[in-house]
Amino acid sequence: MLYRETGQYKSSYAADQQIFPIAQDRYLFWAFMVFACVVPPLFGNDYLFQVILFPVMCLGLCALGLNILTGYAGQISLGTGGFMAIGAYSFFKITTSFPELNILVVFLLAGLISAIFGVLIGIPSLRIKGFYLAVTTLAAQFFVEWCINRIDWLSDYSPSSTIGAPPRELFGILVMGPDAPSWAKYLLMLGIVFVLTLCAKNLVRGRIGRSWMAIRDMDIAAELIGIRPLATKLSAFAIGSFYIGIGGAMYVMFYLENVDPEAFGIFVTSFPVLFMIMIGGLGSILGSYLGAAFIVLMPVFLRNFFPLLQIDIPSHVIQHVEYMLFGGLIIFFLIVEPAGLARLWQIVKEKLRQWPFPY
């Protein structure tokens, strides 16, 4: 009875076109945002920030980028780690070369560089599809890994190509580097994530988003109604890579703070991010974050769950349990609910709408 849209009449198309046409959704969203802005900075400890919130936000942004490319535009990519690396190394290179440059600008530039590479990788997508495209993006991933390993200039000639987060201020507050307080990093990340997510939502509900989905659902029909396939696919590659690049830069600069090229390997980035959108929901913005939260939280949960039951399981066994669970869940979602957690959330809402009268 609480979740009803009865009586909420729309008298204009503008009102019907909003992101949350149902008032309860709107209230819930803003309540969540206020909570997110206030509670963690006041009460959060470093464990909460470091282990949960930071990776969820960074990887969630990467998942959103991949979701634009794969979930909305239907172009499969295994090169996520490569684009994250491009974003991170670009950020590092630019900010160490121009320490005075506002870091928001640096993030933007890092995203743009990643977008340019995305377009280059996307060019073959006009001709090759599905599995073969995935292999192309995989090649891109290996190429990037090779570059950051071999081209010392990219890491300012540091041993083993390691890059770290330099101390940087924004509006006079230290927000980056080892001495920056977690709450400051958190609020900055939250701001970036919020703005970028809003932009993504606007894109997918407008002309560009519709042309992505049209290409995904039936590329021939899309072409026959005047959508240019190449331009549409490349725009998805560009914008998806832009998000992944910024996500990757944040991942390194705020979360890991010190990385070598190993951190961008396919098994620690590309595949987990792909699993995030598969579990969270292909073609759903909310799903990108749900998936990220799920994949970040599950190991945390397992690690705390067995000790809680007083069962003494060595940590390497837990890791195996983790792998098995991941595998099982992915198969489960592929078979039972290909639209992922986001769809489950939707079903809950549909049920709530009818509650307490299911018919």
Binding site: Y13, A14, Q17, C199, A200, N202, L203, R205, G206, R207, I208, R210, S211, M213, A214, R216, D217, M218, I220, A221, A222, E223, L224, I225, G226, I227, R228, P229, S235, I239, G283
Partner: protein
């Protein structure tokens, strides 16, 4: 408005179209009929640039072309529906129809990302147009339904809506009534006639139901084995000996 001149098309050994010529006049409803495999769908595919003919030219609004990308043809004012429904299955009815208007929208992605000012006005403006089509086709109740959940007849209607959304000058319909029951067919006939009346859209349609063809078309072109065997008013075609042999006789009409 459309002139098809000496079009031939073959797929390997199969000669799908053989030296076909006909014209479509401004504002008329032209029916293309013929037995299965006669080359009707291929003809539409040639007209909207999906197939490139081996020889022959196509004149649309006085501009001649031998080869043109389908997207460009669509932008020039030709829209179509497909024999096997080709909707964007994962999108809602409204989004499908809005996608039909995509080529009419121009605000770049930065504006769209902000969804503010010009981009927002553009979106609302086109929403209004899309709603006119939704009203016209009487599909208000399903505007937010994902199309893959709709029954076949409604999907056909949505597909017509998507084609109409582009405000085409020439509308190509490939078997718009296939697989429909009588009531749905009547609705569809009404929509086609109304489109022709209200918007002055020129229509070329493929249809197997002879009753429908005789009722709604101004002119009929008959194809058989890739050849044009007749071209004229419904009553002329109906009386034509070749046609009776090739088609009507077979279908037992």
């Amino acid at each position: 408005m459309l002139e098809v001149k000496n079009i031939s098309l073959s797929f390997g050994a199969v000669q799908a179209l053989h030296d076909i010529s006909f014209g479509v006049d401004q504002g008329e409803i032209l029916a293309i009929i013929g037995p299965n495999g006669a080359g009707k769908s291929s003809m539409l595919n040639v007209i909207n640039g999906f197939y490139t003919p081996d020889s022959g030219t196509i004149l649309f609004k006085g501009v001649s072309r031998a080869k043109m990308e389908p997207a460009e043809v669509a932008r020039a004012g030709v829209a179509r529906t497909f024999q096997n429904i080709a909707l964007f299955r994962g999108m809602t009815t409204l989004d499908n129809i809005m996608t039909g208007r995509n080529t009419k929208m121009s605000k770049n992605f930065l504006w769209q990302a902000l969804h503010f000012g010009p981009a927002r006005n553009e979106e609302l403006e086109h929403r209004r147009k899309a709603e006119e089509i939704i009203d016209f086709l009487e599909i208000q109740a399903i505007r937010k339904t994902i199309v893959s959940r709709l029954p076949y007849g409604l999907q056909k209607r949505v597909e017509l809506g998507r084609a109409l959304a582009a405000e085409p000058e020439l509308l190509l319909l490939d078997e718009p009534m296939a697989g429909m029951n009588t009531e749905e067919k009547e609705d569809m006939c009404r929509f086609i006639l109304d489109v022709n009346d209200h918007f002055g859209t020129t229509i070329a349609l493929i249809e197997h139901d002879m009753g429908v063809v005789m009722d709604i078309s101004d002119r009929v072109v008959v194809l058989d084995y890739g050849q044009k065997i007749a071209d004229g008013s419904p009553s002329e075609v109906r009386a034509d000996k070749h046609v009776i042999d090739a088609y009507l006789g077979v279908s037992g009409n």
